[in-house]
Every structure is written in structure tokens, then in C-alpha cells.
Amino acid sequence: MSYRQAKWNEQLIFEKSTKGRIGHVPPSVDQKESNAIGNPNDSVPPELKRKRSPSLPELSEVEIVRHYTRLSQENFGVDSGIYPLGSCTMKYNPKICDRILNSSKIRDLHPLQDGSLTQGILEILYHLSNYFAEITGMHGISLQPAAGAQGEFAGALIIRAYHDSHGELSNRDEMLIPDSAHGTNPASAAMAGFKTVVIPTVDSGCLDINAVKSVVGEKTAGLMLTNPNTLGIFESNISEVSDLIHSAGGLLYYDGANTNPTLGKTRPKEMGFDIVHLNLHKTFATPHGGGGPGAGPVGVIEDLEDFLPVPLVVYDGKRYSLDYDRPHSIGKIRGFYGNVAVLLRAYTYILSMGWDGLKSVGELSVLNANYIARKISLNKKYTIPYYPNSLVKHECVISAEKIYKDTGIRAWDISKRLLDYGVHSPTTYFPQIVEEALMIEPTETESKAELDRLIDAICKVAEECYSTPELVKNAPYSTSVTRINEAKASHPETMCLSWKMKNNRDMNSKDR
């Protein structure tokens, strides 16, 4: 298969603007309305009248549709091909989950409508909370967090509220976080006011239990862990970790970014966790939208239920409603009730898959990752740290350290060259504890043939690093644009963050 991404050299939409064109005509007013008030501009106080019209582009509808259609063609999505971005769980997003959203029964539903008019969506949210409670083993669920990181923030605030309720907040200010953790973990803990204590990883690829022992104590607020971890390895000593943290009075937080392989096999509850977030745009197949919207529901054990953010969806046997009367709650973490459109997609997905389908999701995500790990481990140019001593679950992290030492070619270059093979590249340089890391998460929705194609590409690029190094160093060639000057983009002298900045820069260079 040869691959070539569309290349349209699309100008900025501002540069295609022609004065006087319009792409959409807003509704007008009728005579009675306009007779009643006269000129609407007279109702804007003079000191608040906009002086200059905003320089928005002026185009006809067809020009706009073509512009953004062409731009979409310069974008690679899961619908284009395999997207093995580790820890991002870029699985296929079933189309039925999108079509459900076309209903005006959800699109045109205002969040403040009377409860008698919103029983349908409340019932769905109530069931969905119960499904997540079952999937995680937690007792209470809040569907509100807008993303995984917001779920973490909510979770960290719950830990804070819990220690506060025991009069221990001032002492317990340390959050233990493994060095392999997602960056959001320390960032969320810091936002909630905690200091982070980094726990190293040992040879098995798991967190260092002795290091936990040496730092855990009366200052410990909790430990944030993803399991399987970002190396794709299951933290087998999880029960011991849980006992250690709990006996010191801390709480155990489950970063649900890697929940996919656990479905139907294990749950945060059985692992001993107290608080969990799930990433619906990962495990529950909602589209990632080029960076969002996602959803990051948070679940807790019974003892922590009072601290969940308000409101919760409740049912009294007759009627579904939103419960704000929760005096110990950490409060509100966002407007309204959550990313409902995303939640509805996830609900549709869970109904489609059922318990049996979700179990297969877990199993096949693990099978696919192990298939890739085994095949790539046969290629001696890459190494897979900790493997095969430790099995992998949903993802594997391969290292291009040997290639780098032999040829000077970096994981970054390899990731760029892979794009030429019509696949998305793995996550690079993460986790930070693996040198020249390429983190591969195939997900369960890739066929064996597509996996083979990815493995072939990864192996071929390794060969190219030795045979035609320049080819790799200057890649990619088949994407809309060739290798981008990223350093220039962030340099204070050359950065350009808007059309306005571009215009100013162009004008200045003309002056010179």
C-alpha cells in the first residue's frame, strides 16, 4: 500500500475573504417586533459601541465548506487508519453513537429545563452512573468531569476533603506518584494543593515498593496510580501497595487512562482503589475530536460518596432528579452536569457491547498489544524494556536506544518516518523513564492485517535507519507538509499565534 495525504496548500480563511460575501443569513425580525423598538443600535450605550467591526472572514457558504473539507482531508483520524498513540486508546468510534446525537431531543435540551421535561436524559445518566459503578466496583459516580484531568482534579479534591474531615489536611500534604505516571497526575495533585513525591520504577517495570515504604507515613495524602501502568505492565503488587497506603491513612487513586485492558477481568475495587476516573474518549469509544471534548467521570467507595461534586443524578422510585443537597461535597467543578453529548455516546456504546462485548474489548486489546510486542521483540534493532519478563497489557513501550547509539537517529525521527507508511505514530518519549521511547497502543479495534502492516512499517523504518539514514532524518514525505520547524514556532522572535500576528510580521518585514 502506498500512501499520500491530501495537500491543498489552503490559505488561511482570512486570506480568502472577499468583502461583501456572507456564508449565513441569521433570522430577521418581523415588522411588529421592529416597530416596537426602532433601531436596535440605539439601545447600546454610546460608550460601549464597538468602534471597529471585527475582522472576521467574509466568504460564501460553498467556499467555507470547501475550505474546511479540504483541511479535514489534511488530517489523519482513526477512520483513516491505525492510530497506535500509547495511553490515548485511539479505538474506532462506532457510528451509531454519533447518530444518536442527531436527535433534537438531546441537541435542543436546555440544562435548566424543568425536571418534568428532562426525565429521559436523567434516566439515561442515572443508568450510566450505575454501569460505571459496576464497571469500576465503586459505590458512587459523578458524571461531571469534562476530561480525565478534571476527573483527577476532582479526585484530588476529594482526597483533600476526606483528610480535612478528619482534621488532618494540614499534615497530609504529600501525594505519591510513580515516575511513569501521566503528566496530568502531578499537575492535578499540585492544583489541589499537594506536594508530589516521586516513586521510582524497578526492574519489573512496576513501582518500587521499597520506595513506597520509605516515604509513606503520616504526611501521605494518597497515591495516584494507573494500572496497568504506562509501560503497559500490570502492577502485580497492587494489593500490597494498597495495604501500605491505607495502613498509613492515605487513599489510593486510580488514573483510569489505562482501563481498557481490565474490562471484565479486574476492577479498581478488587485492586484496592478508593477513587477512580474513567476516560470515556478512551475506554468508551467516544471520538476524541482533535483534542476534545471528552469526559472523565469519577467514582468513589462508599466512605467517600459524600464528597462527590454536586449535583448527582438520583431516583426516588418515581422520578429522576438532580441532587444538590450534599453538604460535604467538594462543590461544583464545572458548569451544569457534564459533557452530556459524550456521556450519551458512551451509554450507547455500553449498551451495544454489553458485559460480553466489554470483556472481549479487554481481552483483544491485550492480545493485540502482546502480538505487537512479541513481533517487534524479534527485531533486534529495538528493545522492549522489562519484556518478556513482564507481560504487557494494552500497550508496549519499545526503545530505539540502540538505533540512536548506532546511527544518531532519534525516536522522534522514526515517528516521523512512520507517517509515510499511512499509519499514525506511537507516542514518543513517554514514559520518560524509557530512553527513545515509542509507546504503542493498538487497541482492540485493529485487525490482524492492520497490526501486521504497523509492525512491518516499524521494522522497515529500523532498517532504513541503517541503510538510508537521511531518508529517516528528513521524513515525512507523504503527509500534507514535510518536517515542520517546531523550534521556530515557539521561539519568541518568530512565534505567530494568530492571523493578526502574521499580518504584523509581514508588514514589519516589508518596512525593512
Binding site: L12, H110, Q113, I121, A341
Partner: protein
Amino acid sequence: MVNSEVFPYLPNSSSRIKNRMLKEIGFGDISELYKDIPEKARLKDKLNIPSSTSEYEVEQQVEKLLSKNRSISEIPSFLGAGCWSHYVPAVVDAIVSRSEFATSYTPYQAETSQGILQTLFEYQSMICELTEMDYTNSSMYDWPTALGEAARMAVRITGRDEFLIPHYMDLEKVEVLRTYSEPAGIKIIQIEQNEHNGQIVLETLEKKITEDTAAVYIENPSYLGFYEKDVEEISDLTHKKDSLLIAGVDPISLGIIRPPGDYGADIVIGEGQPLGNHMNYGGPSLGLFACSGSRLLRQMPGRIVGMTNTLDGKDEAYCLVHQTREQHIRRERATSNICTNEALCAVAAATYLALLGPEGLRNLCETIITKSHYAMKRLNEIEGIRTPLFDAQHFKEFTVNFDETGRSYKEIHDELLRKDIQGGKILSSFPELGETALYCVTETNSRQDMDALVNALNDVLR
């Protein structure tokens, strides 16, 4: 129940393929891949959720539940207060449904993600034009969380810990602000607003801004729909003490009213949902976030897209910039923990603003103002009703007071519901306003809707 172990989204689910793959990598059974999960941590039973269901049945089931809702396309509604009914042009739905956009991740691999990157760059550019600010990020979750992040950013920049907010604000937004502020030790202080015209009282504001004031936050139009007129004076008072001015806006209103950049705002936040995003029962929304000055840029949370070029110099190109501010690089010292944001809602906003252009946006503002003023005029004709409560100009939202009817608004509201009209939001958080509701009228409210409201109220209050 689907009578099969094979699932349409799982290409390797048939046992023939599964076993072949297992065999190829030296395993006999899937369970061997799970032997690292200790017995204690294993799930003993199957998950207690229904078994798999065919697409047709799922669709029937979900639609049946959704049919219990009655949306505002079925009954007239006058709700706003943080989520607004604005018409979403068909083009916007078509563009955000492009699966190349919808099914892509955050564009870490820029060369293969130019489409979303250029679109987000255009979004940033349009918000910069609309607000007259230097820099815009590619989205926060919503307006309330953007406010929380803005407060934390202002405190980081100034090293001060007091944050001033207007009295007449959405209580839920204030609660989100508190949630974000409390762990950072930020003190939230209310600014007095004149009870007759809603305007911030400049004399007391001047006293409240001290050497400890990180920022002054204003909303324009305010939560209760009136404009804040003294923006120049507020800006001067704020900057005199080296505090930052943060303005919260309804982006639609900027088609006609002054952008905060024009009166010296340092940070602009707002709700981008009105820009081409369906209400969807309140989420997802789109948190707008813009700032001016390079000192602020370095502290801005969220993704930012920049224009650069290819290394060979042949093409313009786009990529994420200043990632050293972000959690995946800076970890506990990041400007925020935000990772996944509302990028596709920003795509909708860019498409929407391109469709309307400056003329369309101004025309839309004029339509909204005409309609909201028609509604106020008609409501004022009803005995016992006073609207607006504040002696000031209003945009699309306005207070309606029922004190002189001798009835509680809640009672009237419920009677309107029985007549199939969804009235405005009951304002319970400001007892001094009496029996008052917050009504909203946009281009989606027909004159017939408003006349129906007036007739219904006449009936109810007779």
C-alpha cells in the same frame, strides 16, 4: 442478545483469528495473558450489565428513553443563564461531523494533523479579532472553569491573593471559581453593584482594589443581562494598582459591543457554546480564553497552535507551541493540568464565525436586541410585571420581576409549564431582588412564542 462471540467493532473477535494470533506469539489461551493479575485482584463474576445488543435494538432503546424529553424545539423556552439557544447552521454540523477531525487525537504529530491545527489557528485568530486580544488558547472546558483558571493565572502572575468579582454573578459559576481557588489560597471578594442600575460602584471598587488584589473580574453583559458601562474607569482603577482586569463575555454580543481588548482587559474569558454548538443539556461547552502581553502568554493554560513553516522553507505549517507550559512536560509545575479540552467545539466556533462574518454577526446582534426588547415591552404591558429590574440597557437576557402580582414566581413558572411554556430561570440566589426571574430571548424565539408567553402570563395572573 447477539448470538455470537463476534463483534462488529472487534475485527479479531472470532476464535479462528484469535487462536491463530495466540499461537503465533506462543500462547494457548487468552487467560495466559492475564496471569500477572493476582488472584485477589481478579473479577470473579461477569459484569452486571446487560449483554450485547444489535445496533437497531440499541437505537430503539436509546431513542425511546430520549423521547421522554421535551426539548425547547417542542415548547417555547426563555432560558439562558450559562447555556443559550442559538441557531446552529447546517454547515457547522457538516464540518464537525468530518470524521478526519472528529476521530483524531490532540495533534502531537503535526505533519499528519495540519487540518485540525490550521482550523484551531483560525479559531484562535477569530477569537483574537472578536475580543481584540493578542493571544487565544485552543479552548478550556467552559466559562466557569475558564474563570477558575484565570483566577489562578492572575495570582501566579501578580503574586497576590485577592480576586474581586461582581455581586450579580451566576452562583454556580462562583462555586466553580471557589473550587478552583480554594486549594491555591485565593480570597474571593465581592464588588458592590448599584441596586438600581446594576453598575459597579466605582467608589467602593477603588477602596477594594489594594496591593493584594491580583485581578478584578467583570462580566459584560452581566449575568443579569445589563451592560457594564464604566469599563474605562474600572480598567483605570484596576491598572492603577497593577492588578489585572479580567472580562467575561458572551462572544455573540461582541458583534455590536466593545471588545474587552479595547478597554484594556488583560484576560478575556467567556462561553463559546453560542458559537455553533448545540446545547446538549449543558455539555460540552467551549471555554474561551484570551490574553494580551507576553508576560501573560507564558502563564496561559491550555493548548496553543502556532504558525511556522516546514524545515525546507517551502510551506507554511502549524504545530502546538509553548508546550513547556503544559502538564506532559512540566508536570507539577505546569500552568494547568488541562489536557483534553473542547477542540471540536472550537472547530464549530471557527466555522460559525466564518459563516456569519462581521456583517452576519452584527445583524444577529440586531435581531437579538430587537427581539429581547420586544419581549420586555410586551411583558411590561402586563399589570404587576416589571422588566427589566435594572435601569440599564440589556442585550439578550433581562430580569422580570413579579413582586406586584402578589404571587411567587415559582408558582407562576409552574403554571406556565402547564401551559407548555418554559419560563426563565428562577433567581433564588438574590433575595433582595424579590420574585424575579432571568429571561432570555434570542433569534430562535419567534414573535409567536413571545406573544404566547404574554398571553399565558395574562391568563395566569388574571
